[in-house]
């Protein structure tokens, strides 16, 4: 049994009270004295040359304080890609400048080319309308294959729309081709991983401030990683020294990847604040969010699976086109490559993997990591083609997967895609999935559905992902321009309570509850006496923030290391108080005691002694009790899972309903099962949304047709079922002190292929030889497929 509020306890979240009573403090809730508003002028065309911007009339409008155009930022840096990817021939990727405001050309609908600073938002909007702008429209580049074939370039100066042409693992290319050529059976599938808009419910918001007396800048912003944002602004864009820039991300209303990145609006409000000596605020509306938040997925893939006569997997080969949009967002180059290609061996002992991925510029919003980031794309391709292969060779899809699974005694396992998996037990996950989903009862449920005139399908999926991002040495070799450690400071206050400053950022994950559980467990004290400080670069150590399911595995490990240092120092202080050798002092449940005696002091007494160091070995031990640790992981962590779902399809309308959804995951050790389960629920909701309803659509002119909640289908409560979530079959992560793997993205990785596999199973049960339907499987698409099928 876990200790009360210790590791493993389903402690309710302390942050809930402020959110449930309207006392949260999101960026847009902040109102500074004398603040003014930034409003952006955004391109209404996808591709155009800015011939002229006449600001005279707008500048004379009531309340207008300043107008910025791209001209004002030509001398500052661009917003960089965080990862250098080389093409197969060794050429570095094409990296056109991403300016604060568009200059010369606009490259997607929503691209900001000017900003008006006014006393009020309404005055700013009026003035934007009064800008006299001459933009010569050109044909838009939207379709990726057309983009590569043509000579109409998103960035004229690079003379191509191909960012890079990446091969992984290039040395395996010939062998993979050979294996596929000689294979007993090859299954081929062409598929689309549909473009999604992350849609955190809180729109982005940035507030810039500048103090002319000190030269200090402050940026309050909707960020998942305030230190990364500060680093990008300081080192690349505006050149503000890091010590003169504080970035604060207060309560943040969801991120899902879209708030990892630095955006031009953040630089603009800082520059405007300095120019005007006023606090400058910008809050995105939902339409702007659709047009300018980094989108997700958008791959077009051909995958082949080669099998021998016994059904053993011989090779996976994929050819993928990945849309990066009009500019490279910060993680846009790593997401389709090292977070995708390296997972293309899946859970399997397959000996050969080759991935060719072409990243393509188009006149659309930038595309970057969205919940799962590359791993959902890998899992979707693999688990769809495996299901198709099973059907083609007449094998049960679960048995075929099991036959090719890595077995528990094979760890550590070097995958054919270049990763070393440290632990896992995929058969145990599959066993548990079959049990808790009542797979045995499926036939009866199918019969019942059929009696109502509905088709019922059962779909399955196995996944492994890489998270806890990431070992700095390894990612440095692979092209990362940053390290990916994290950091924590554990400050024991004189009266025995604690403030723990962490580099991770919580925007729904419950860090304020979970990190104290870990420290409380280690120190044997009440979790209520421990508070977490996060999201403010002036208060926390330099950490890399929250994405890639990394907060617990990386920052949590830093918390453990810092707490261990606190215990080590406190033990020395206790030894002095107890007149013993430190080696003779034990620490258990908040009490230091001398072995074999009844002499002891409490943690609180030691804390007080550290800050009131009278009768203290001041020549041997510094006063105070505060320790910082940076933790750099030795490897990725490898969560895995077995999912299944049952769908009902109405053959009259093509409407798909997910009736049952089961997720069995191996997250390693679980700190708070309530929160972990909630994370899986959220991922499932987004994954089912991708599979059934969500679609981002640009027309041929580059107009975003799905730019509001009236056009983009967000999953509603009545689109989704109750889920069965199980994490009982865990294997421990072998290389971090918590044994934890990370749970934030699993649901969004495992669920889309599960749903599609179930729909295909339903189609087949209805006698329709349908082998694939692209996501989202809307009633129209399913109905059309059924009516076109033999």
């Amino acid at each position: 049994m876990p200790k009360d509020d210790g590791i493993g306890a389903a402690t309710v979240r302390r942050e809930d009270v402020r959110f449930l009573t309207g006392r949260g403090r999101y960026s847009d809730d902040i109102k500074a004295f004398g603040e003014c508003a930034a409003v952006f002028a955004r391109s209404t065309v996808a591709n155009g040359t800015i011939k002229s911007i006449n600001t005279e009339a707008a500048a004379a409008m009531p309340g207008v304080l300043a107008i910025f155009t791209g001209e004002d930022f030509v001398d500052v840096g661009g917003n960089p890609a965080g990862w250098l990817v080389n093409s197969r021939d060794g050429e570095p990727m094409k990296e056109p400048k991403r300016p604060v405001l568009a200059h010369g050309k606009v490259r997607h609908v929503g691209d900001a080319y000017a900003a008006v600073i006014a006393e009020t938002v309404e005055q700013g909007r009026d003035a934007v309308e009064a800008l006299e702008v001459d933009i010569e429209e050109h044909a838009a580049v939207i379709n990726m294959k057309d983009a590569l074939a043509g000579t109409n370039y998103v960035h004229d100066e690079i003379g191509t729309n191909q960012c890079f042409d990446w091969g992984w693992i290039e040395d395996n290319r010939a062998a993979t081709d050979e294996a596929i050529k000689g294979a007993h059976h090859v299954t081929t599938l062409e598929l689309v991983n549909n473009r999604l808009v992350p849609n955190a419910m809180e729109p982005r918001c940035s507030i810039g401030d500048y103090n002319h007396g000190t030269g200090d800048y402050t940026l309050q912003t909707t960020s998942q990683n305030p230190h990364l944002t500060r680093l990008l602004i300081s080192a690349f864009v505006l050149g503000i020294p890091e010590n003169k820039l504080t970035v604060i991300a207060p309560d943040v209303g969801g991120g899902f990847g879209s708030k990892i990145y630095h955006y031009g609006e953040e630089a603009l409000v800082l520059a405007a604040a300095k120019k005007l000596g006023r606090t400058v605020k910008w809050t995105s509306d939902r339409s702007e969010a659709f047009l300018t938040d980094a989108h997700g997925r958008d791959h077009v893939t051909k995958i082949e699976l080669a099998l021998d006569e016994k059904g053993n997997f011989l090779a996976f080969r994929t050819e993928t086109y990945a849309n990066v949009g009009a500019y490279l967002s910060n993680f846009s180059t790593v997401t389709p490559t090292f977070l995708h290609g390296t997972l293309m061996a899946g859970n399997y002992t397959v000996p050969l993997v080759y991935v060719n991925l072409k990243a393509v510029f188009t006149n659309t919003a930038p595309v970057d990591a969205y919940r799962g980031a590359g791993r959902p794309e890998a899992t979707f391709s693999l688990e769809r083609v495996i299901d198709m292969a099973a059907r083609e060779i007449g094998r049960d899809p679960i048995e075929l997967r099991r036959q090719n699974f890595i077995k528990p005694d094979q760890y550590p396992f070097a995958s054919a895609a270049g990763l070393e998996y440290d632990s896992g037990n995929y058969d145990a996950l599959m066993d548990q999935m079959e049990k808790v989903s009542d797979k045995a009862g499926f036939a009866a449920r199918r019969a019942e559905s059929e009696s109502k005139g509905l088709l019922r399908g059962f779909g399955v999926n196995a996944y492994v992902e890489a998270c806890g991002i990431a070992p700095s040495n390894l990612v440095g070799i692979l092209g990362s321009r940053v390290g990916l450690y994290d950091a924590a400071t554990v400050r024991v206050n004189a009266t025995g309570n604690l403030s723990v400053m962490v580099g991770a950022h919580s925007h729904g994950q419950g860090h304020e509850t979970v990190f104290p559980q870990i420290v409380a467990d280690m120190l044997g004290i009440d979790a209520a006496s421990i508070d977490i400080v996060h999201g403010d670069t002036s208060k926390i150590p330099f950490g890399m923030g929250t994405y890639g399911s990394r907060s617990l595995a990386v920052c949590g490990s830093a918390v453990v290391r810092a707490t261990e240092k606190v215990i080590a120092k406190a033990t020395k202080i206790a030894a002095h108080m107890l007149e013993a050798e430190a080696g003779d002092v034990d620490f258990n449940d908040g009490t230091f005691s001398v072995k074999g005696t009844n002499r002891s002091v409490s943690f609180g007494e030691v804390a007080l002694k550290a800050y009131i160091p009278h009768d203290y070995p001041i020549d041997l031990i510094e006063p105070g009790l505060e320790e910082t640790a940076f933790y750099d992981p030795a490897n990725f962590t490898y969560p895995s899972g077995a999912y299944c779902c049952e769908v009902e399809v109405d053959p009259e309308t093509g409407k798909v309903r997910v009736d049952r959804m089961t997720a069995v995951d191996d997250f390693g050790n679980v700190m708070n099962p309530m929160i972990v389960t909630g994370q899986v629920h959220g991922g499932l909701g987004q994954g089912i949304g991708q599979a059934l309803v969500e679609q981002t659509t640009y027309d041929d002119d580059g107009q975003l047709l799905s730019a509001s909640y009236m056009d983009y289908a967000m999953p509603r409560a009545d689109d989704l079922p109750f889920y069965v979530v199980d994490h009982s079959q865990s294997t421990v992560c072998t290389h971090n002190p918590l044994g934890a793997k990370g749970c934030g993205e699993a649901g969004a990785i495992g669920s889309p292929p599960t749903v599609v596999n179930a729909v295909i199973d339903a189609m087949q049960s209805g006698g329709k030889n349908i082998t694939h339907i692209d996501m989202p499987m809307t009633p129209h698409r399913v109905w059309t497929a059924m009516n076109n099928a033999q």
């Binding site: 402020r18 949260g24 403090r25 809730d29 419910m201 209303g253 969801g254 339409s287 509603r716 989704l720």
Partner: protein
Amino acid sequence: MTTVTMTVNGKPVSENVEGRTLLSTLLRDDLRLTGTHIGCDTSQCGACVVHVNGEAVKSCTMFAIEADGAEVSTIEGQANADGSLNVIQQAFQDHHGLQCGFCTPGMVMTTASLLKENPKPTEAEVRTYLEGNICRCTGYHNIVKAIMAASGQDVSAIAAE
């Protein structure tokens, strides 16, 4: 500018507003009741739901002057008199019915309205009633569960923690 007078969370207030001022703007900017959130521009997301004369209303879709003379209650006025969480709020905490918290005020206000109309809703009734409230974090499982628990129903058979 027009002067509007109303009762907000039991307290009389009077403010000068423009004709175009939305009720949500009055609440957030003038009264600094920032628990009411703005998540979209098309009256879809439901983060701004408040009660006007006891009815759930999307405050981004109502002019402040339309609420002249009304009794308005917001998320800030929902806790018990002693400051403790009310039954709905407590159920959301107990069942982990929120994550980032941004949609939560609207969810709580909509739930209050639902349970007034339908004290013991079924799962399907809860899901249908929430069609005007979008959550991106929870996949709705724990929201539906929390609402059913708040209505006094036994939710122990609903899967997971």
